[in-house]
């Protein structure tokens, strides 16, 4: 299976990815501009605050009985306006950014899903569901979180750093020099720590992944483990993995938790230096008391974003990497669109022919070498052969889930490449071995193939498929919710449900061909016998392709194709094949040994 590496820490093409991400933001560009202006404004306002506070304190520093209250109040009023409006602006900014980022996430999810609907079946055969899903849930979440918080914090940081630096310098150049000493210290420190912690955190997530995989695997085989009294071995193996995970966590986090206090330490040094040098400057009458206090406030504002830069960069990179995975999915080659002159298949008779068809899922491995057959309308074609002989592949080709490499498949003499997929597929009815049910009521599951089906029609189909009594025994009858993986009904019952679905669907449209891929493999013989008349109804007047293990079910086929290693090794009726005493004869005889 070609599985793309799902764990990448750094995007490969940051620039291109960034540009595409911007395109998703395109419709919101005016809102983003609005946010940018607001956040600059709000930051300038909150930057101005300490300055006003300092000015007020300077007034107060005049000492007992000498304070000019008019000016203190004026400063205080301005402070109040500044801070309150800054906070209100922040609230507006937050709300807007949340809206934008969630809308973007919505649009991305929608694009991904629509893309999935256009991808060929082969994509789903080659990629793990978990991997695709994690792009929609986890990756898009990372992008959206990054957008709603990081865009604002980048804007804020830039404004704050530049603004505070400007204010600091305007208050006192020498003190600013002192404060700036700490910048290289914290930048170097975070860079160094990042280098140390990064691999440890990667190891940590890897060990969690291993542990989760192990837990999932073992618990799904729990009954087997108990049956073989294998618990102790599994417990012991888990102990190693658990221990490994615990240690990886300690290795990463015990270092991770030193970063905070160390940054605090650097800030405190900065504070001490400012106090010390500030005092000296004050003694030399180079600075006022109020100025020192507002300088301290600015220096705190200044160091805040600097400390955060490392974090933000990390988040930004992981968001870009996530975006790249999403775009990678969006760039997958789609199912070839129908040819421009594609015909709509109507008035189907049901003559299907394969003419020297060759096919392989990968160019290196050809599964079907040279297959020709002619299925006349209304005939029953059975395909038998050992596992891996290529039976299911034929169905993939008939339904055009895959296109043939060479040769032609024709329906009523028309090459299916020149037909619209929709019309081709709707000419078929299909019941597959891997039954598919979705979370929804029994009613919805049966009615899936036919819009606007009534309850009566659904019940009729269920009765024909002999699943009606079972449904009536469920707590809510036809309104009972089937669990996501159909976990609350057995495999056999699921097959009957899908048969009912096919029956309902075929009673409506003019489908002329039927595919049964081991349709009743999990249904017991007596039920299978009971639904036989219904199956015959389903098969009546249709060209049927039946894949079956139980050779008894196909004895009355008009044509039996015996497949081995992708080639038809024998074909004929049951009688003629038995008479020739070949491959089929041996398969058949083995039933009775």
């Amino acid at each position: 299976m070609a599985r793309r590496d799902s764990i990448m820490t750094k995007p490969k093409d940051s620039k291109g990815t960034f540009k595409r991400l911007l395109r998703f933001l395109g419709p919101f560009r005016y809102m983003i501009l609005f946010v940018a202006i607001l956040s600059i404004l709000s930051n300038l306002l909150s930057l101005w605050g300490p300055n006003l506070a300092g000015a007020a304190i300077n007034e107060a520093a005049a000492g007992m009985g000498r304070v000019n209250f008019e000016r203190v109040y004026a400063y205080a009023l301005r402070m109040l306006i500044c801070y309150v409006s800054a906070s209100l602006l922040t609230i507006i900014i937050n709300i807007t950014m949340v809206r934008i980022s969630k809308r973007v996430a919505f649009r991305m999810r929608q694009s991904v899903f629509e893309k999935l609907m256009r991808l060929p079946v082969g994509f789903f055969d080659q990629n793990q569901a978990g991997d695709i899903i994690s792009r929609v849930s986890y990756d898009i979440d990372v992008i959206s979180t990054c957008m709603s918080t990081d865009i604002v914090s980048i804007l804020t940081s830039v404004v704050t750093v530049i603004g505070s630096l400007f204010m600091m310098i305007s208050i006192s150049l020498p003190l600013s020099a002192v404060a700036l000493i700490t910048i290289p210290a914290s930048v170097l420190y975070t860079a160094k720590m990042r280098k140390i912690t990064q691999p440890r955190f990667v190891k940590r997530s890897k060990s969690y992944g291993t542990m989760n995989g192990f837990v999932e695997e073992m618990l799904s085989g729990q009954k087997t483990i108990l049956a073989y009294a294998y618990e102790d071995t599994v417990d012991k193996r888990f102990d190693d993995i658990n221990n490994g995970a615990a240690n990886a966590y300690y290795d990463a986090d015990s270092i991770g938790v030193t970063i905070g206090p160390t940054m605090g330490f650097i800030n405190n040094i900065c504070l001490s230096l400012i106090a010390f040098f500030g005092s000296i400057l004050y003694m030399n009458h180079a600075i006022t008391l109020g100025s020192i206090s507002s300088f301290v406030l600015y220096s705190r504002k200044f160091s805040g974003p600097i400390n955060e830069v490392a974090n933000i960069i990390n988040e930004l990179f992981s968001a870009l990497a996530a975006a790249e995975r999403v775009f990678n999915l969006l760039d997958q080659e789609e199912e070839l669109s129908d040819l421009p002159d594609a015909q709509h298949l109507t008035d189907v008779n049901g003559n299907v022919s394969l003419d020297h068809v060759a096919f392989g899922y990968t160019p290196e491995q050809t599964i079907i070498h040279d297959l020709s057959l002619n299925a006349q309308a209304g005939k029953l074609i059975a395909i038998v052969g050992p596992t891996g002989a290529g039976k299911t592949t034929i169905i993939n080709l008939l339904m055009r889930f895959y296109d043939v490499d060479s040769g032609e498949i024709r329906v009523d003499g028309k090459n299916i490449r020149h037909l619209t997929r929709r019309s081709l597929r709707s000419a078929y009815e299909m019941v597959l071995q891997d039954t598919w049910v979705f979370r929804g009521t029994i009613f919805e599951n049966i009615a899936y193939g036919r819009e606007n089906a009534t309850m009566d029609e659904v019940v009729a189909a269920a009765k024909a498929a002999h699943i009606h009594p079972f449904i009536m025994r469920l707590p809510d009858g036809y309104e009972t919710i089937v669990a996501e993986d159909g976990g609350n009904i057995s495999k056999g019952q699921k097959q009957l449900l899908t048969i009912a679905r096919a029956m309902l669907a075929s009673s409506q449209d003019n489908s002329c061909m039927l595919i049964l891929d081991e349709a009743t493999s999990n249904v017991d013989t007596s039920t299978e016998r009971a639904i036989q008349s219904a199956m015959r109804d389903l098969m009546r007047d249709k060209t049927c392709f039946v894949i079956a293990h139980r050779l008894s079910t196909i004895q009355n086929a008009d044509l039996i194709l015996v497949l081995n290693h992708g080639d038809v090794v024998e074909q004929g009726t049951h009688a003629s094949l038995m008479a020739s005493k070949g491959f089929y004869y041996n398969l058949y005889r083995a039933q009775f040994e």
Binding site: S46, G221, T233, N242, P261, V296, T387, T525, E593
Partner: protein, 594 residues
């Protein structure tokens, strides 16, 4: 929380130590601005450089001490979290591994896995942070207020009034926000579910041309989730700016009242300056406290989910010898008028509380099929086939024989002993079994077959040969050391079944059970397999459950089960005469055989 305590108890001295160190660290941290205020207000006016140096140096020293204390406390808290989560995971996994069938049905596998993974993770982060932030935040808050009180009681009153208001406000918003986030999570689950359904059912979706319908369905879920997400995120984005606003209003008030008090001579300008710093600290304290609350509620939910599994009462305990039933009947395996229903089994076991996340509503929905008065004996070395409709209760016979459940009436005996009086591992070691949908683990073929038992290379090869697996296994360059992928996905269905049968045969079990385990084999292989079992495992008591008559027709005795009742019993030939249902199955499967 009681549950967590039972694990944290062991580390109580370390935890108290951490809290003390953190307390000390935070206290010292609070001192730094205080000293700065002292420096500026009292020392600087003295204009003595040596004193300034002294106090400046003290500040540096304290900064170093703060770092040392905080780092030590943080590291110790990580260590405690590591040790306790290791123990929790170990015990939880052990419990999960030993759950009985009923309990597993009720909790469900996905829920169990998420308890094992994301819930333990939540608890771990909580244990780590509660020891540090949990102390730091209240100390910053209370300490900050205390220090300001000592500096200037009047000015500090502003803080004393504002702090509780802010805390209440922030916690209220957060408490309101948490359920909103749960709703987002539910929406997300729905999105993932629809995606998964479409990925697994892509052939059906395409065959029925339902692409646009599915896109619509997805769009609805997507839209709803986006709406919920916006609401939750906006709610949670509020506390930050609001707290900042309140604090800054407080700051303004301090400046105003401070100026008045300076004018009145009750306070010094440096105090106002120090207040500004403490304000920041108090704000951090409030936000920290908020984080602690959120973490607490998250961890509490997770801890309860874990505890629900751990406190599942012991089900199906081993009965003392004298309490077990006795039988006079002869036979290696005896089913003595056994009646069973899964529903009843669930009710019989003491109810245990699970949270609303687990989908227990339908756990028993299709399980109304029971066994009704099943009675048979099987001699040592004998063979038994069981055939019947889907859901007729064939597998239940095995579940009772291996004691995954207990019968509601009647008894099961092996070798004259009530299975309820046997040690579970001893009981299970007598079996070699292949379940319906059995699994291979991501390990070597060798380990998958020996499975922790004492099987040497010859035994391994013999088992592979008997199971007709040797021919394909020997083609791998590593032969028996070839790796299986998770769930054996790198093997075909038929290869998987053959490996599973080899596992069942490997330890030469007393009882061999094959539950519908040759369905993916073609008839030829199936026949060879049966022959090998007959020849090389003739002492083994064999039970085969099958859909195919051909798989069981040569066995000593065959049971035909329909809706939990025994409707036919005898050899193949006898049943053809006496049991119409059996004859019917035979005829449909065999066609007109000459």
């Amino acid at each position: 929380m009681k549950f967590l305590w039972s694990y944290l108890k062991k580390h109580i001295w370390v935890i108290l130590g951490v809290m003390f160190i953190k307390l000390a660290g935070t206290a010292v941290e609070l001192l730094i601005p205080y000293i700065m205020e002292h420096l500026i207000d009292n020392i600087v006016p003295l204009e003595r450089l040596s004193l300034v140096c002294l106090w400046g140096g003290l500040m540096l020293l304290l900064a170093m001490a703060v770092r040392f204390l905080n780092v030590t406390a943080n590291r110790l808290s990580v260590r405690t979290a590591k040790r306790s989560i290791y123990a929790i995971r170990r015990d939880l996994f052990h419990t999960a591994l030993n759950l009985t069938g009923n309990q597993m049905d009720q909790i469900t596998l996905p829920s169990l896995i998420s308890r094992m993974t994301s819930d333990t993770y939540n608890v771990q982060s909580f244990i780590q942070s509660v020891q540090t932030i949990g102390i730091r935040a209240p100390i910053m808050l209370i300490g900050g207020i205390a220090v300001t009180l000592s500096m200037d009681r009047g000015l500090a009153m502003i803080l004393c009034i504002m702090a509780p208001v802010m805390i209440v406000l922030v916690v209220c918003v957060s408490m309101h926000g948490i359920p909103l986030y749960n709703r987002v999570q539910q929406g997300m689950d729905q999105i993932v579910r629809i995606m998964r359904e479409n990925i697994t059912g892509i052939r059906v979706v395409k065959a029925l041309s339902k692409e646009s319908y599915e896109t619509r369905r997805f769009s609805e879920a997507n839209q709803e989730t986006a709406k919920r997400d916006i609401r939750a995120s906006i709610t949670m984005a509020m506390p930050g700016p609001i707290v900042t606003m309140f604090l800054n209003i407080g700051l303004t008030l301090v400046v105003i009242f401070g100026a008045q008090r300076v004018n009145a001579g009750v306070t010094k300008p440096g105090v106002i300056l120090a207040f500004l710093t403490y304000f920041n600290m108090i704000m951090m304290g409030v936000m920290g406290l908020n984080r602690v609350f959120m973490m607490l509620s998250k961890a509490n939910t997770s801890a309860n989910r874990i505890a629900a599994v751990m406190h599942v009462p012991e089900d199906l305990p081993r009965l003392p010898q004298e309490k077990g039933a006795h039988t006079d009947r002869d036979g290696f395996i005896v089913f003595d008028h056994v009646t069973f229903s899964y529903d009843e089994g669930i009710q019989k076991s003491p109810p245990f509380k699970l949270d609303s996340h687990s989908n227990t509503r339908f756990a028993g929905a299709n399980r109304q099929v029971c066994l009704n008065d099943i009675d048979f004996t099987l001699p040592k070395g004998g063979s038994l086939g069981i055939i019947g409709a889907t859901g007729s209760g064939k597998t239940t016979v095995i579940n009772l024989l291996m004691r995954f459940y207990d019968p509601s009436q009647g008894h099961v005996f092996i070798d004259g002993q009530d299975v309820r009086t046997m040690d579970k591992d001893d009981l299970h070691r007598r079996f070699g079994v292949v379940f319906q949908n059995d699994v291979l683990f991501a390990d070597t073929i060798r380990e998958n077959i020996t499975f922790g038992r004492d099987v040497n290379d010859d035994g391994l090869t013999a088992a592979l040969e008997d199971a007709r697996a040797y021919d394909f296994v020997s083609l791998y360059p590593e032969t028996v050391d070839h790796q299986s992928a998770i769930h054996g996905s790198n093997f075909s269905g038929g290869q998987r079944q053959r490996l599973l049968i080899a596992r069942a045969l490997a330890a030469k079990p007393e009882i061999l059970i094959l539950d519908d385990s040759s369905s993916a084999l073609d008839y030829r292989t199936d026949a060879n397999l049966r022959q090998a079992i007959r020849e090389h495992h003739s002492d083994t008591t064999l039970i085969v459950i099958a859909q195919r008559v051909s798989s069981i027709m040569n066995l000593d005795e065959i049971l035909v089960i329909d809706e939990g009742k025994l409707i036919g019993r005898g050899t193949h030939e006898e049943l053809l005469k006496t049991c119409p249902a059996y004859r019917e199955i035979h005829e449909t499967q065999m066609g007109e055989v000459d």
